[in-house]
Each structure stands twice: as C-alpha cells, then as structure tokens.
C-alpha cells in the first residue's frame, strides 16, 4: 500500500511543539553584537543632516553607520531600465517611505541600540508626498526626479469600446485590492560572522537561501565560495521572505567590517513597515456579455502600487494578466497594468501574489453581471466554464491550463453547501425584514503554480545503517517538506520515515536551489526527490543483484520495506544496511542528484462558497459557513494540503473582512502594529467544510499541483460576494475591502439616500 495520500502526521511537530524550533533569534555566539536600524519617520523628504555624535558616545555603542560609511552599490532590481530606482542600503540624500533605514546602530545589546537610536538626530526637509497609486499615476508629484515619472513598467494594451461589440450588456466596476501586511509570526532576522577560514557565515530567515547567498556575494563583492548561508527553522514568510532586504545584506557587511558576530532581529513594529507588503492594485473592470450571461469580452485596466522602491510587486500584474480570465471561456480579454511608485513600503509577493487580484476581479465582475441580468450567480458561472474536454486549454492571455474539471468542482460545491436551501433561508429573512441578513457568495478560481517554470534540486543517498539522506533546494518555512519529501522517498524505497533525514537551506550541503514560493515546492522539489529516489533505488538494485546473484531487473523492494529481495523469492533478501556496506566496499555510493524541471506551470482550481450574516444596523459581518472544493491534482500529503487550505482560507477571509495596511495622506502608517492591523484569529472563523477533488496533472511524476495559495485566492471573492449579496436588497452595489462595520453601515446609509 502506498504511503502517499495518507494522513501522515508532521515529522516536524514533536520538536516544534515540545522543545521548540531553533530560529535565528535563538542563535548566540560569543561577543555577539546587536544591530538595529534608525528608520525614516517621514514619508518623503530630503535628508539635510544626520547627527550621530551623541549616539556614538553612549556606552555599549560599537558603531553607527550612515550611507556615507557604506560604500556599496545599491541593490539590484529587475527593472534594469530604471537604475535610479535601485534601492540604496541606507537612505542617502532622500527618504521615500516611513520605515526606510537611514542609519545602522551596532551595540552590545538591543536595549543600548534603542537608546542610541533616540540620540540620533536627522534633519529632514519634507517633500510633497504621494500615497495613492492613482495620484501617483498622474505624475503630479514625482518621487524620482531623475526618472521624471512614477511609472515603472506597463504590461499589455487596451483598445477602444468596439472591443465590446456584440454584447447585450456591459458592466463596469472599480475595485481596490487593498494593501496587506504579510505579518509572519517570525519577524525578519539574520545573524552573521566570519569563520576561521575567513568565510562569511550567514544565518537567514528566508524562503530563498541560495538567492541570499547570491545577493551577499554580489553586493559585498565576495566570491560565491566565500559565502555560507544557513536557514534554521523559519516562522512563516508568505512570499515576503522570498525577497532580500537591505537590512539583511548589510548585516553581512557589518560582520566583515567588525570581524565580530552580529545579529539583527527586528521588532514587530519594524516588521510591519520594513517587510514588503502585498496586493495594492486599483482595478477598472469592464465585462460585456449576452443576455444569457455568456461573456463576450473582458477588460481589466490596473494600476499597481509598487511602493517606494520597485521590487517584485511591480512585476506581479504580469501574473494578474495571465490569470485574468479565470476558469471561463472568454473569447476576448484585454489587460493593461501600470506599476507606479508611491511613498509607501515596497510591494513584494504575498500569498497568491498577483493571482488573488485576478480572481477577485473576474469573480466580482461576474456577480455584478449576474445581478444586472437578474440571473443566479452560479448559473452565470456555469454557462461560461471551460468544458472538461478542452484541456490543455490555451487562454487568450497566454496560459496553457493543463487539466481541469471545473464543472465537477462547482457541482460538488452546490451539493455540499445545499445551495437551494440557503437561498430559501435568505429569502425568508428578507421577507421578515430581519436585522441579520444572510449573504451567499460563490467564487471559482484557477491559479498558476510554479508560475515561472523553473527547476529544483533534489538529492537522495543511502546512508550507513540503511537510512536515507535527502537534500532539497526548497526552503520550508512551515510547509512540512521534511514530512512530504520523506514520504516521497519512502514510497520508492519502503524505508520508514524515521530513518529518513532531510536537509534544506544550507548552501554548503545543498549545492544549489531556488527555494519555496509560488506553490512550486512539491511539483518541482518533491518531483526531484521522487526522480532521485527512483534513480538511487536502481543503483541499490544493482548492488543487491550482485549480492543475491540475480539480475537487477528481478530485484524488488522487500515486503516489509527493510531492504531488497529477489522477486518471488522473499527469503533471498538483503537489508539496506547491508547494501550500503557492500556499496562502500565496492567504492560506490547509492546516491543520485537531479534537477527536476517541469515543462510548464500547473493550474490548480476550485470553487468556494461563503455564507455570512450581516447585521444591517451595525454593519458587523459574521462568517457562518465556508465550503471549499479545491483540486490541486494528486494529493501526496493530505494533512499538509489541508493545513495549506485552512491557512489560506483564513488569510483570504481576512482580506475580505479585516485587513488593510493604510496610510494617512502624509504617508504615515496607520496600522503599524498588531493592535491596529487587524489580522484574523480562529475565533472569527467557522470550521471549514473542505471537499476534495483530484484531477492529476501530467506535468510531473507525482501528478501534483501546488496548493499553498489556493485558499487565499478563492476565499476573498467568495466572502466579498457574500456580503454584497446580503446587502443587495438594500440597494448597495459595491463596497471596497475590507468590509468593516463602518463601511457597511456607510454604504447602507448612502444607498438609502
């Protein structure tokens, strides 16, 4: 019986739940120094003077550095045509957002560093501030004089209104997909020192250790062999730790300069401003359709807020574009996006990264269309679904959806949620003019995982005593790769999970790797482990064949999984420990390394339904039910997959109802701590009703797609649609997220004139 598909408990948990993980903040070295950054308190200003004299004199302060002390070229950016927008390690003449590092303090404790920061005086000359991306688009206030415009990059084009010719009805809507803070439990942290051989050892809380190594070696002009990056346990990243930050890289610089171990663990308040934010799009959407709901043409015109220094966020509309049509067969799709800089924290990838924005757009547009045509929102979706026999399906936005059974997902959703009786209860409440109205919201999604088809490293090796050592280029930060990769290898060898060790995140041990983001790990890293296991097993079979005097093709895994045997002759068997010894005698290794590359991205999909209760007097929303049908191909580790779905739904619901990182017009953050940035807790959520569907992909030997982001992508529009569904009888047509009590109350008051 296969171990894959079984609810195996996480191998990571006994340690995490008992003695605890080992995070960067837990690392101590003798004579270690502590780093803290003075950050800008204004959103946009010239720096006239930085006075650090008093701070330098404080006992316990080892060094204070400003931009003048750091002779490093700015960080590299993916927007090579705009070098002026490259981010400096410390702000030099200008600051461009609140939270931007201006000076680095090195001290004997974080407390001393905090005192020193209070003794550093920065003279700012305020400049006009631009926070709103639409205002930034107008270029009235430009934040890079050298560039002369706030526009970083544009994807796609839109034509004129003849694009919608043939439509019986055209609906337009404007959506703000608000800015979110990723807020992982573990804040950003790093620790660096120079070892006896003069190499830079760098501990990082990251999703991409090899990229950290590359950036350290590039920025600090070190040969790659001189950098050793280690990633201990990481407490979450949600995509935002797949970016390298100046505060991290500069720590390596300080370690080299001071020749002492240096550590940096930011505070939560610093994390809220310093770690990149996510989402932040303004979308203008137009949908043309026939009167039966068949979509004729769809246009999305997007402004992407990139924050002050363009990072991966400025690029993400590319994925919004790819996923714009969703699971629908839309003959014509137009998409245009313009990424602009603003005086805010830079936008990076955050769970879903460009795809939730696409799904929210089309799913809201479809609900508006359904209401205009007086059709049930589910029916409008059904008429437009891509039929199951048309895969692989090429979309007008350049994607090739691998496999899908969209109607299957929608039908399962209807059945499980008992949609008809929900609608009856809703009608009942309207009839009785109840204060607490019912709202039912549906959304479907398809998303792109492993979005930039790449490869991932996997190595599998038989070890002394008959265990396995797996090395992987992925970089887990909560996902449970140790469990999943062990299962994948155990499936091939039969070796029990306890005898399998998994190493990730150490660049000396794992020769190369890409990391964990974009729901890529299982389909690439897991597939690499699978392929390496298959290859290593056949090497083991050759050794066993010699030992058992049989042909390798007759060798099979023994029934109890303890070794290899001759097929049909169970007594003729050698253990893996014996095979290891024999191989060593022969000077061989039973080991295989590979880089698995998929031919294309995979496209998981699903359908979600939310039932909400809206108190129309106070505007408070209660989520009563959440039903999710998710199809991510073959499910290798159901417990891990379910964990991803649950966490994803929670974060998606949070975007709909609770979270927004906001600024006042002067660029001051208004939600810079967890008292004001209202992220969701279990108390606000019902038990999720999760329904499985498996449509395996042909793009990797496991048949698996990614599932890390699905929950986040499908749930936001389901909840958004549900709340507006409840309010529709009151004449409310639109409310931007998050749907706070005040906004709902306002909308009701306004709609009633």
């Amino acid at each position: 019986m296969s171990i894959l598909g079984n609810k195996v408990l996480r191998l990571e948990d006994p340690k995490l739940l008992s003695v605890g993980g080992e995070y960067v903040a837990d690392l101590k070295r003798e004579a270690m120094l502590y780093v803290s950054y003075v950050t800008s308190t204004v959103a946009h200003a010239k720096i006239l003077e930085i006075d650090v004299t008093e701070a330098r004199e404080i006992s316990g302060v080892v060094a204070v550095y400003t931009a003048d002390d750091v002779e490093l070229a700015p960080m590299a950016s993916m927007f090579r045509d705009k070098p002026a927008m490259n981010r400096p390690f410390l702000a030099k003449d200008r600051v461009r957002f609140v939270g931007e590092p201006v000076a680095m303090v090195v001290a004997t404790s974080y407390e001393v560093a905090a005192d020193a920061k209070e003794a550093i005086f920065i003279d700012y000359e305020p400049l006009p501030v631009v926070v709103d991306p639409e205002q930034a688009f107008s270029d009235e206030v430009v934040i890079y004089d050298e560039v002369g415009s706030n526009k970083v990059t544009t994807f796609g084009e839109i034509t004129d209104d003849s694009f919608f010719d043939g439509s019986d009805v055209i609906v337009t809507l404007k959506l703000r997909n608000q800015r979110l803070a990723p807020a992982p439990l573990e804040v950003r942290a790093a620790m660096a020192y120079v070892d006896q051989d003069g190499r830079l050892v760098f501990y990082a809380s990251t999703q991409t250790p090899h990229a950290v190594k590359a950036e350290l070696s590039r920025s600090l002009s070190l040969d790659a062999t001189q950098v050793h990056v280690i990633t201990p346990d990481v407490g979450g990243g949600f995509g935002a730790k797949a970016t390298q930050y100046p505060e991290e890289i500069l720590l390596g610089w300080a370690a080299l300069k001071l020749e002492k171990p240096v550590a940096w663990v930011e505070t939560r308040s610093e994390n809220m401003l310093g770690l990149g934010h996510g989402r932040a799009q303004v979308q203008t959407l137009t949908l043309g359709a026939k009167s039966d709901g068949t979509i004729v043409a769809y246009r999305a015109d997007v402004i992407q807020d990139s924050g002050a220094y363009p990072n991966v966020g400025a690029f993400l509309p590319m994925l919004t574009k790819t996923m714009a049509p969703g699971i629908y067969k839309i003959p014509k799709v137009e998409f245009r996006s313009t990424s602009v800089v603003t005086n805010t924290t830079p936008i990076v990838s955050y769970r879903g990264a460009g795809r939730p924005e696409a799904t929210e757009a089309i799913e809201r547009a479809l609900d508006v269309l359904a209401r205009r045509l007086n059709l049930d929102p589910v029916e409008v979706r059904k008429v437009n679904l891509i039929p199951a026999d048309e895969f692989p399906y090429n979309t007008p936005t350049g994607a090739t959806y691998d496999v899908g059974d969209y109607l299957g997902a929608v039908e399962k959703l209807m059945e499980r949620s008992d949609y008809e009786s929900l609608r009856r209860e809703q009608a009942e409440r309207i009839l009785h003019n109840a204060t607490k109205r019912l709202g039912i919201g549906v959304s479907t999604y398809v998303e792109i995982t492993n979005p930039f088809p790449s490869s991932e490293f996997g190595g599998v090796e038989l070890t002394e005593g008959g265990g396995l050592l797996i090395r992987s280029g992925t970089s887990p930060h909560g996902q449970g790769h140790r469990t999943a990769w062990s299962m994948v290898a155990s499936e091939i060898f039969g070796i029990p999970l306890e005898k399998i060790e998994v190493i990730t995140g150490d660049t000396d041990v794992v020769p190369h790797g890409v990391g964990t983001f974009g729901s890529r790990s299982l389909q690439l890293g897991g597939a690499a482990v699978h392929e390496a296991s298959v290859a290593a097993l056949s090497m083991a079979k050759e050794v066993a064949a010699e030992m058992l005097e049989a042909s390798p093709s007759d060798i099979v895994v023994s029934e109890d999984g303890s070794g290899l045997a001759v097929a049909g002759v169970p007594a003729s068997k050698v253990s893996y420990a014996q095979i290891y010894e024999k191989a060593s005698e022969l000077g061989r290794k039973v080991a295989f390394e590979t880089d698995f590359k998929a031919a294309n991205s995979t496209f998981p999909f699903g359908a979600h339904l939310a039932v909400v209760e809206v108190d129309i007097e106070t505007g408070k929303v209660k989520l009563l039910r959440f039903v999710a049908v998710d199809d991510a191909g073959k499910i290798v580790a159901p417990l891990l997959a379910e964990g991803q779905v649950h966490g994803g739904i929670a974060q998606g619901v949070a975007q709909a109802l609770f979270e927004e990182f906001s600024y006042d017009p002067d660029g001051n953050p208004q939600t810079g701590n967890l008292a004001d940035y209202t992220f969701i807790s279990a108390a606000e959520l019902p038990s999720f009703e999760v329904v499985h569907q498996e449509t395996p992909t042909y793009l990797n030997p496991l048949g698996a797609k990614g599932i890390g982001e699905s929950g986040t992508i499908g749930s936001t529009p389901a909840v958004h649609n549900a709340v507006l569904d409840a309010l529709a009888p009151l004449g409310v047509e639109h409310i931007d997220m998050p749907l706070t009590p005040m906004r709902i109350w306002r909308a009701i008051v306004d709609s009633q004139g």
């Binding site: 209202t678 108390a683 109350w745 306002r746």
Partner: protein, 270 residues
Amino acid sequence: MYPSKFDYVRALSVDDALEKIASDEEAKFIAGGHSLVPLMKFRLATPSLLVDIGGLHDLSYIKDEGDHLAIGALTRHTEVEHSQLLQAELPMLSYVASLVGDPQVRHRGTIGGSVAHGDGASDLPAALLALDASMIAVGPSGRREIPAKEFFKGFLETALSPDELLVEIKVPKGVSSWSYKKFNRRAQDWAIVGVAAVKNGSTKVAFVNMGSSPLRSTGCEDALRSGATIEEAAERAAEGIEPPSDLNASSEFRVHLAKVLTRRALEELS
C-alpha cells in the same frame, strides 16, 4: 520594542508599597503590567522605578459584605470571570470580565489595574460606572472612598494621586437586571463602543470608548426617568457626547452604534 532603563522593586505590604512609591517621583505601581508594559515598550511611559504590587495577595479577594460586594484591587480578570460569588450575586461583572482581551490578558490583568489606568476604552471601568461602584484608595493621608462618578477624570486620568494605592472596589447589590453590549470586530479586540446598562432601582447606562474616559449616558437616563420609550431613550443616548474618531469608527458611526447598542441593551433589561 525596548523600554528605557528602569529600576524594579517588589512591595511586601501595602505600607511598604506606599513607602516605596514615595521614594521616587517617577515611580509607578505595576500590577498585571498589561496596560503599563505596552506603554513602556513604546516609550510612552518611562518610569524610573517600578513598584511591583503583584505579590500583595491580601489584595486579591471577592467578598460578600451584605449590601455590597468587595473586590480586592489585585483580583485578576479571570478570577472575576469565574467567581461563583459574583456569578450568583453580580453576574454582570463576571460577564464583562470574560470579554476583556484574551485568556492570557485575563490571567495577568487585574481589576485594580484596569480601574487605576482609567482608560475610556476599557470594559470594566464603564461597567463599574453603571453599577455605581466606588473605589477605596489608601495613601499618605489615609484611606478614602471615591464614587465611580468622581473617579474617572479624563484621558488616562483618575482621582488617584500618584502616591495613592487603589485597594478595593465596592459594588452595591440590588441589580435586578443588566445588559452589556461590547461591539468589536474581532473576539479579542477592545470595544469600538460598549454599553453597560443596569437596573438597580433606576436605570443607569454607561459607555465604553465614547470619550476619553468612561461616560454615563445622561441623555438616555434622563429620558427614561421622564417616562420615554426605549426607542426614544436610545435615540438620546449620545446627547452631549462627542466621541472620538479612529480607523474603526468615525465619531458619527460611534454615535450611531451607541444608539443601536443602547436600544438593544435596554430591550434586554425589561
């Protein structure tokens, strides 16, 4: 966040606490620390000396004193929440305590700290205001009793002087019905608006987070006294009150919430 440097001493008795607090002008009592420590971490409070009263177990009690209940200042929220005596004699206070923050906060925070902190956004002070409670303080000039109506002065400002220790809270019995409505977005959040309504002879209504300190709704109470209906009284709930605006609620929305919640609370009284 790292607080500035401070000294720390433990009080061994009430007298010892008073002596130690008098030794340093910048000294502050610390009880559960759940209001003070956050302020210190943001360096909004920078006491040079903390006098820890957390060990004064003599001040942790809930007693039946005939016509009133006496609650020691060091009684933790969780004890107020689970006290059988309170659940029988004054269930409102147990209920209100159960809505404070999360279990961790309720296991550290004390009723005395909540009252002495005097935060208009706190739950217990408004409830005590509606209950016509009074506070017992001891200081260099002896012991005094301060009615709740005179206790809460303004933003984080109370009738206590810096060298006075709050030791007890007295709550009159005789509550025939009550209601507490806490309106917030997430379970563990502070109230955006809260309404405490108490019927003890007359009807008293107090608000959480409608001003810089806990407030009584004189508009509503006057209306009820003169025989108004619940709807009419609720409509006058925010009379003379100008609540603050923040991200969660504009002043206007707070007024609206106060009216709706007051109506719902009064409907529950009957």
